[in-house]
């Protein structure tokens, strides 16, 4: 309980930062909105034969891509605190070892809520119409948030290990950016060379995109070449990925935080 209260103080600090430096929030929402508009109007023509049009497949893809970038954001934030010696100060306080990293992941999760709402509204304006009803749509968003949250823990670990905000931001981006394209997020995996196809099918980004498409009521025509497990059970597979990531990186991160030194 105490640990959660401490974590929330750290989360509050992050929200306070947003009010002091509003550019961060603005940039964080403008970028995905820009992506929605660009993809919608540049590749919109691709979906002539897709039920509901390309935008129905695009939105889940961009949602997942955006929450995937949480990894880099968290990593950068933590490395920055490390660089400034703030982590040292926090570690000299009588607070739970998990508080600082937990607070950071919660803060980045809250930021994702705002970003997803703005993106969803933008999507609606350009023709995105999920058909599955309120419950499943909500479940879809919850999955997106949880996926971002799980990746945030990977980011915590990366940030604590690297200690250099610029480097870790670039490295995480170099790692996640191709991951979001070697997937079914924007185009069909069937047109990829064979080995890439396998990769794309097992890629957590793909399973997430397929899961969310399913929850929003659209057939995932961009994946499922083989009868592989992830393409048949995207929701289960995505949940497994998230749980595994959390189970590995949450304890690793807390331990790293405990022993971290500038």
């Amino acid at each position: 309980m105490r640990a959660l209260q401490d974590a929330l103080i750290i989360t509050k600090r992050q929200l306070l930062q947003l009010t002091r430096v509003p550019e961060v929030l603005i940039f964080n929402t403008i970028q995905p909105v820009m992506f929605v508009l660009l993809f919608r109007y540049v590749f919109g023509g691709l979906g002539a034969n897709i039920p509901g049009g390309y935008v129905q497949l695009l939105m889940p893809g961009i949602f997942v891509q955006t929450v995937t970038f949480t990894l880099a954001a968290t990593a950068q934030g933590l490395a920055q605190d490390m660089e400034k010696g703030l982590i040292d100060r926090f570690r000299s306080l009588p607070i739970a070892r998990s508080a600082v990293v937990m607070g950071r992941t919660l803060g980045d999760g809250l930021l994702n809520i705002v970003v997803l709402i703005v993106m969803g509204l933008t999507g609606y304006l350009v023709g995105w119409r999920p058909t599955s009803g309120a419950l499943k749509i909500t479940l879809g968003f919850l999955m997106l948030l949880f996926f971002g949250y799980a990746l945030s823990w990977v980011g915590v670990f990366a940030g604590l290990v690297s200690k250099d905000a610029r480097v870790v931001a670039n490295v995480s981006f170099l790692f996640t950016f191709p991951l979001t394209f070697l997937s079914n997020a924007f185009a069909s995996t069937t047109s990829m060379p064979r080995p890439l196809q396998y990769f794309a099918e097992w890629n957590p980004v793909s399973t997430m995109v397929a899961a969310v498409r399913q929850l929003y009521g659209f057939k995932n025509v961009f994946g499922a070449t083989a009868n592989s497990y992830p393409s048949k059970h995207p929701i289960t597979m995505s949940l497994v990925y998230m749980v595994v990531l959390m189970a590995i990186f949450a304890p690793l991160s807390v331990r790293k935080y405990k022993n971290s030194s500038k």
Binding site: I9, R13, R20, K84, L86, L93, I95, S261
Partner: protein, 330 residues
């Protein structure tokens, strides 16, 4: 009662290649100030980090307020304040935001945290700057805010790692004033510094460290006398050298040294100002007019030279750098 005890602390980095602490021991009596004096890289920060529970020693044993820092770090954190070598505050937030946040993290209620923030900003003359982001603060203000943040719970034991390094002379004076006030209130303070005058000014007792070991311990007067205390240095005209030297030797009961090129005579003196007066009186009678006359107090460099036989490495590099710059300007 001892507030801080460290026994035979050892710490290496890079798989044993760098010996940061090599059997360091020290203790600090409750309510007193210990200055750890040493050049860059001598192990000051490592010592502070171990005592403040941020780092585990490879071996050795340490207690703060009677609590073992390795076995019970959380209890130690309840009674200490730490202000590290670099101001560690959230730069995007205001001074007020920072203090309230840290107050909350020390588990004060919202009202208590606000009240304490107001109080501390007042105490550290930061009230006017309270609503500005730290980014806009001067170096001195940042350090003061950082110090304020470490005092939120009125710690029994306070660690200050090089509190004035990087500050301009004015910031340094202000910081000294603030620290002296704290000491009056009875906190036990361990402070590290690279400057003998700072340790002299603030500390009851000084531990000189070099290569991760305490090489001397005592009051600043005791240390200075180990170095030979003050020296009288004077420059006289060529024709006056021999008579001047004769007077100096007689008055100081010592064999003075002479730098022929600079015409500089130098001699250790036991009672500086008294000797100075005597020398001037005798010179006046002998009609010798010194071109330059000064009492030199020992610096950290002198202390080092005397204690270790080698110069404080980083300090030397810095002096050379300064010389080079000065030379460049000419």
């Amino acid at each position: 009662m001892k507030s801080i005890v460290a026994e035979d602390l050892k710490k290496t980095y890079r798989n044993g290649q760098v010996k940061a602490l090599d059997g360091l021991s020290l203790d600090v009596e409750e309510g007193t100030v210990l200055g750890i004096l040493g050049p860059n890289g001598s192990g000051k920060t490592t010592t502070v980090r171990i005592l403040a529970t941020l780092l585990q020693p490879d071996s050795g044993h340490a207690t703060v307020g009677g609590i073992d820092v390795v076995k019970n770090p959380k209890a130690v954190r309840e009674i200490i304040g730490l202000s590290g070598q670099y101001a560690a505050v959230d730069e995007t937030l205001t001074g007020w935001d920072n203090l309230v946040m840290f107050g909350r993290l020390y588990h004060l209620s919202a009202a208590q945290a606000n009240a304490r923030a107001t109080e501390l900003l007042e105490q550290f003359s930061l009230t006017d700057a309270a609503r500005r982001p730290i980014k806009t603060f001067s170096g001195g203000m940042r350090r003061r805010l950082d110090l304020a943040a470490s005092l939120i719970i009125r710690p029994k034991v306070l660690f200050l790692d090089e509190p004035t390094t990087g500050l301009d002379p004015r910031g340094r004076m202000e910081m000294w004033g603030v620290i002296e006030e704290l000491v009056k209130e009875g906190v036990t303070l361990l402070l590290t510094t690279q400057y003998l005058d700072e340790a002299d000014q603030l500390a009851d007792d000084i531990a000189v460290i070099d290569r991760g070991q305490v090489i001397a311990r005592g009051t600043s007067d005791a240390l200075k006398s180990q170095v030979g205390g003050e020296r009288l240095e004077l420059v006289v005209a060529e024709s006056d050298i021999s008579s001047a030297q004769e007077i100096i030797n007689r008055l100081t009961h010592s064999a003075s040294t002479l730098d022929v090129g600079l015409r500089k005579i130098s001699a250790p003196v036991a009672n500086g100002s008294q000797s100075l007066i005597e020398v001037i009186r005798e010179f006046d009678t002998a009609k010798i007019h010194p071109l330059d006359l000064a009492l030199k107090r020992p610096s950290l460099d002198d202390v080092f030279m005397a204690l270790t036989g080698h110069v404080a490495e980083e300090a030397v590099a810095e002096t050379n750098e300064k010389k080079r710059k000065r030379g460049g300007k000419k």
